[in-house]
Point group: C2
Chain length 350, copies 2
DNA sequence: ATTTTTCTGGAGAACGATTTCCCAGGCGTT
DNA sequence: AACGCCTGGGAAATCGTTCTCCAGAAAAAT
């Protein structure tokens, strides 16, 4: 019933532990008949190498830590899933830490994982500024890849979606479908997703309609904020509401429906992320799909190359292009001319 | 830059590694002045005990493995979150494994975690039958607690929601609000959640209306099935649709809305789990809230007691009572008498 | 035939902590 | 004063691997 160790396999096959280790690990050539005896004995006894002992000796646990703000954020589960699969495919395991959107616990989780001798860290930082210290000191000790969100510059490698081009896709789409008075509902948070999407919106919106830049409202990445923001932007009579993520957008949709506003007839609504809920909203939400699988694969590969010795190259920053998913919430307006009172756009009822 | 070890602390404080270990671990009393020297040196050097070495010696990694079917199933993230917090609160870490709803990869993940010397396993089994072998053999090696779903009897400890009483709450509620022709949309899967909820429905529905047992349709735990199932039960003109989980229910709501059926006016819809999406559906979904935090806490505590030596007691099975969350989707019908044709219930318009 | 290289296998030292065993004093008892 | 007990501390074994030496034999080169 007790654990089968190398020593027992050695005894059973009549040779030394060194030889057994060599046979099983393929480290050095071993005579064919002894190799066979060893393999048989190991098989027969059901030997499984003790990863802890192996880790102690080889100074590598084969474990990767993943620290994220909140697993309950609906964008993360699919990301976690892909990361887990990518890591398991190379024989590594995933230590998961949820830090409740709090930089302090984030720091605590990071040191806890370092104490456990993780080979590397994947971190989705909570806050661009407040996460920085913990991330930087940790990055000095193990390879670290930031995922989905950045954390200052030059602190660690980064794999993230190209928020700017995603937002540009949204604005082009809205422009192409005749929307002119666009508002933005974003988050005032200090994570890079919030910052970059806002910046990209402002850049794009300015070029879209220079003299009448859209109204910008900032709250947090929540459904409740989406609902509340609608009441604050409605007086500006927008014909499109660009939201910084899908949760906000779904909240906005709910409130608009409650107020009897026609979406997409009067107002188009767009999100960002393409969480599962987006396709199920009513109307289905036009959004920007993050390349989740590719993000995970890229992060895993980058991590792998850092672990394989490329530990001192320059910091890499990989941006993956997202994809626009057009759904009902931004469908072109039927020529109902219902909103002729506010901003008459003569070319729309040709 | 290199790792600070016990030996270095010993040298810096002028005593042996044994003494340092005793001071820091509090294993045995040590003279006050030496203890102080040691603590100062450890602090000054920034000593952090190497958990791998500690694990090898003490035969305990402080790591718990969690194996679940699919992290993307919207019920699981909150459960994972609570489990993670409960474990971290006692200084343990969580190794996460997602097995893609496949019993074969589930078995592979379990052995991978065992090879990593996890102290115990938390498993949400994919399938009551096909998961059994892997779970049973693993349970023979480490403490194991099944979470949310069972896996045969007597295989391992179990902490789960009392599905039967949850379903009973739903049926009582529907009966109390005057629903008579109830249909059930469930899952034909072999996990205990599906089985128990179906069984409880059949028991409760029979006692509710003995001569006209409701129609039962079985598919899987998905939104798509919820949509499809609506078309199959509508010919039976139900006034309530009980769904085995929230995903099915939300799918059903969508299809019913598409067909122009009034919910809850004509038909009430209920779900199970209370995933975040439930409160956001339109109409908001009446459902059964699983006590997620309590499930996690109970599982962690049970695991703790097993790890503390209670390894040979009888298998425990803990069932936690869920809570009915009444929302709009099952509101009592306004006395509009719109459905007078199907099942006239004279007492409802008093 | 002798020297050098290669090749195979074993003995044993790490890895970094915990823990057992042992020893040197200090104190109390007879 | 002698003996035993208790206390505080160090030396060393241990956990299960990996890996570096080292020794002997066989093969190759001189």
């Amino acid at each position: 019933m007790t654990e089968v160790t190398l020593k027992e396999v050695a005894r059973a096959s009549g040779c030394s532990v060194a030889t057994v280790s060599r046979v099983l690990g393929g480290t050095r050539p071993v005579g064919p008949e002894i190799a066979l005896r060893v393999k048989e004995a190991a098989e027969r006894l059901g030997y499984r190498p003790n990863q802890v002992a192996r880790a102690l000796r080889s100074r590598s646990t084969g474990t990767i830590g993943l620290v994220l703000p909140q697993i309950t954020n609906p964008f993360f589960p699919s990301l976690v899933r892909e990361v887990e699969h990518a890591l398991h495919a190379e024989g590594r395991a995933l230590l998961l830490a949820d830090c409740n959107d709090d930089p302090t616990t984030e720091a605590a989780r990071i040191t806890a994982l370092l104490d456990r001798q993780v080979d590397a860290l994947l971190v989705i930082p909570v806050d661009e500024k407040h996460s920085r210290d913990a991330v930087a000191t940790a990055a000095a000790r193990v390879p670290m890849v930031l995922l989905d969100r950045g954390c200052g510059t030059g602190v660690a490698d980064l794999v993230a979606t190209d928020n700017a081009s995603g937002m540009a896709l949204v604005l082009e789409h809205l422009a192409a479908t005749g929307r002119r008075r666009v508002c933005f509902v974003g988050a005032s948070g200090c994570d890079t997703a919030a910052v970059e999407r806002l910046a990209a919106y402002e850049a794009g919106a300015a070029s879209l309609d220079p003299e009448a830049p859209g109204r910008v409202e900032l709250g947090d990445f929540s459904l409740e904020w989406g609902r509340a923001a609608v009441d604050r932007i409605l007086p500006f009579r927008p014909d499109a509401v660009v939201c910084a993520n899908d949760l906000i957008a779904v909240g906005a949709l709910q409130r608009l429906r409650q107020l009897g506003v026609d979406v997409p007839g009067e107002i188009a609504v767009t999100g960002f992320d393409d969480i599962p809920m987006a396709g199920l909203a009513d109307p289905a939400l036009t959004t920007v799909r993050q390349p989740v699988r590719e993000l995970a694969a890229e992060a895993a590969q980058l991590l792998g190359s850092r672990l394989a010795g490329q530990t001192d190259g320059p910091r890499r920053s990989v941006r993956l292009a997202p994809e626009l998913v057009v759904r009902a919430s931004s469908a072109p307006r039927a020529p109902s001319a219902q909103d002729a009172g506010s901003t008459p756009t003569p070319e729309e009822d040709q």
